[in-house]
């Protein structure tokens, strides 16, 4: 999979917050390397606080790593790359003072899209996520799932080759999550984007990913990469197949020890992974 066609090359990235000896000192990422191919959907999964989101922010140029570096489409990352990379965050980062359609337009304004093209692109992005009747609504008038669809529409309208998604469905209930996962699989199968998707959910990872990178407990690094050999778009029946169950169990086995370690590190039992279907 990870051939010369890599869209994202992560080379020996380490990151720490604060300085050694300080109370807030945290070694988040240790010497992580990874190649992500063009058009691939890669899931990052691991215990809470293992540095998955940190890695995503480093790839997106929102954080400068303490050491190591990232190349995106052959160029070293030194800051945000709005023309190449779009983000979808865990909580909807839609601006509450703008309507959905204004939010999408604003993303393109920031990115530098000329005015004439914006309206059509915004409309088609909204249509793609099934929200075309909600263009004039404010984010607060939508459910959590609809807000995340709108955030996805904003990211899609930017027409970047790369999409970084940081637990985009993390705050949603199980059923909304399942539907959004299925729709996302259909949507992304058509778009040929390169996607990095951070998740806590084993089922979500297996359902969506071409490959799943499993993180170790802090300081996080990639323990193993598992390939999910199943064509996109994934069918709902995939969830009930033997292949799905085998892969999910394999992931569970890999993660279980790391989660225990993470729980011991924090002294709290909040570093859980959702183990239910999808």
């Amino acid at each position: 999979m990870a051939t010369a066609e890599a869209a994202i090359k992560v080379c020996g990235v380490s990151h720490q917050f604060g300085d050694e000896g300080e109370q807030r000192f945290v070694r988040a990422l240790a010497d992580t390397s990874l190649d992500i191919a063009r058009g691939e959907l890669l899931c990052l999964i691991g215990p809470s606080g293992c540095g998955k989101s940190t890695l995503l922010n480093v790839i997106g140029g929102l954080m400068t790593p303490s050491s190591g570096g990232v190349d995106v489409l052959g160029k070293p990352v030194r800051g945000p790359l709005p023309r190449d990379i779009a983000f979808v965050f865990q909580e909807s980062a839609l601006f509450p003072w703008n309507t959905i359609i204004e939010n999408i337009g604003l993303g393109m304004t920031f990115q530098g899209v000329a005015k004439p093209g914006r309206a059509a692109r915004a409309a088609s992005a909204l249509e793609a996520v099934g929200l075309k009747d909600f263009a004039q609504h404010y984010p607060a008038q939508l459910s959590g799932g609809m807000r995340q669809r709108a955030a996805l529409a904003r990211a899609l309208s930017l027409e970047t080759p790369i999409l970084l998604m940081d637990e985009p469905f993390g705050a949603l209930d199980e059923q909304t999550r399942m539907i959004l996962g299925e729709d996302l699989s259909v949507l992304l199968a058509r778009s040929h984007k390169t996607i990095v998707f951070v998740t806590h959910s084993l089922g979500e990872a297996v359902f969506l990913a071409d490959r799943v990178a499993v993180f170790s407990a802090r300081p996080g690094t990639i323990k193993q990469v598992i390939a999910v050999d199943e064509p996109h778009p994934r069918k709902p029946e995939f969830v009930t197949s033997a292949k799905f169950t085998t892969l999910r169990n394999q992931l569970y086995g890999l993660l279980h020890d790391e989660i225990r370690k993470a729980v011991q590190q924090t002294g709290l039992a909040d570093a859980t992974v959702q183990t239910g279907p999808t």
Binding site: G60, L62, P80, P82, R83, I85, A86, F87, F89, E91, A93, F95, W97, N98, L106, G107, T109, F110, Q111, G112, L158
Partner: protein, 259 residues
């Protein structure tokens, strides 16, 4: 359907409380009338409301209030303009640095709790008995709610919005115009309304203490001349002006928050 029912119930409750409020005021005026006409309260202390009403009509007809009103409103406009310009500018600059916020936010909050009216004699020494001392006092008092709310508004914008905007390539101007300003505006508008109200109160108050003209000055002047009915008429006039101004400012605030 349920929502419509609840709306109607809320409207009815609101109407009821308006009726009770009006009844309460009418009751107060009735007691006032009875006290001054039937219960033998000295007319020099409490004039008859009918006489107050006649005086109010006379004041409005003759237009004698215009000079004092102009002075008071002029002082208010100048004081508010100074406190808004300085408060919003300084508040924005302070909000750009977490260190400055940590230093100045508690400092301004502490000074805001001091009765600045105590400095009126000092302002009179500096600026004389004319409008300048009222403007200085009104501006210094109303500066604090404006600056405190501006810091709070700009200083506590959700980081996620800033990160999201930056990830999409927002420039500094984009960030200010489309993220910081709309995020901060409701809090700043509240600060402006509070600043306006405190400026109005402190200016009229200080006119009653040390001044040559203005509505507050007129009221004290009439009290000293023992012209109680006319003094009460001016008090009613000032209350009406204050209610009108506060309604305008509150409406502007609500409209600014909606957009």
């Amino acid at each position: 359907m349920m929502a419509g029912k609840e709306d109607r119930k809320r409207d009815r409750d609101a109407l009821m409380s308006r009726i009770v409020q009006a009844g309460f005021l009418a009751g107060l005026i009735l007691i006032w009338y009875l006290a001054s006409t039937r219960w033998g309260v000295n007319r020099l202390l409490l004039p008859d409301p009918v006489a107050v009403y006649d005086n109010l009509i006379d004041i409005l007809r003759s237009g004698e209030f215009i000079d004092d009103l102009e002075i008071t409103l002029g002082e208010l406009a100048a004081a508010f303009a100074i406190s808004v310009t300085s408060g919003v500018t300084l508040g924005y600059l302070i909000s750009r640095s977490p260190y400055a916020i940590e230093v100045f936010e508690p400092l301004f909050a502490a000074i805001y709790a001091i009765p600045i009216i105590l400095f009126l004699p000092l302002f009179v020494l500096f600026f004389g008995l004319g409008p300048a001392s009222k403007i200085a006092l009104g501006a210094s008092i109303s500066f604090f709610p404006v600056v405190i709310n501006t810091i709070a508004g700009f200083g506590h914008v959700d980081r996620l919005f800033v990160t999201a905007a930056r990830s999409m390539g927002a420039s500094d101007y984009h960030l200010f115009r489309h993220v910081l300003l709309p995020a901060a505006l409701p809090v700043i508008l509240t600060g402006l309304r509070m600043g306006f109200t405190t400026a109005l109160l402190s200016i009229i108050g200080s006119e009653t203490l040390a001044s040559l003209a203005g509505l507050g000055h007129r009221i004290v002047h009439l009290a000293e001349a023992m012209d109680m009915a006319r003094m009460f008429a001016y008090i009613v006039f000032v209350i009406a002006i204050a209610v009108i101004l506060n309604t305008i400012v509150s409406t502007l605030e609500a409209r600014g928050k909606r957009n």
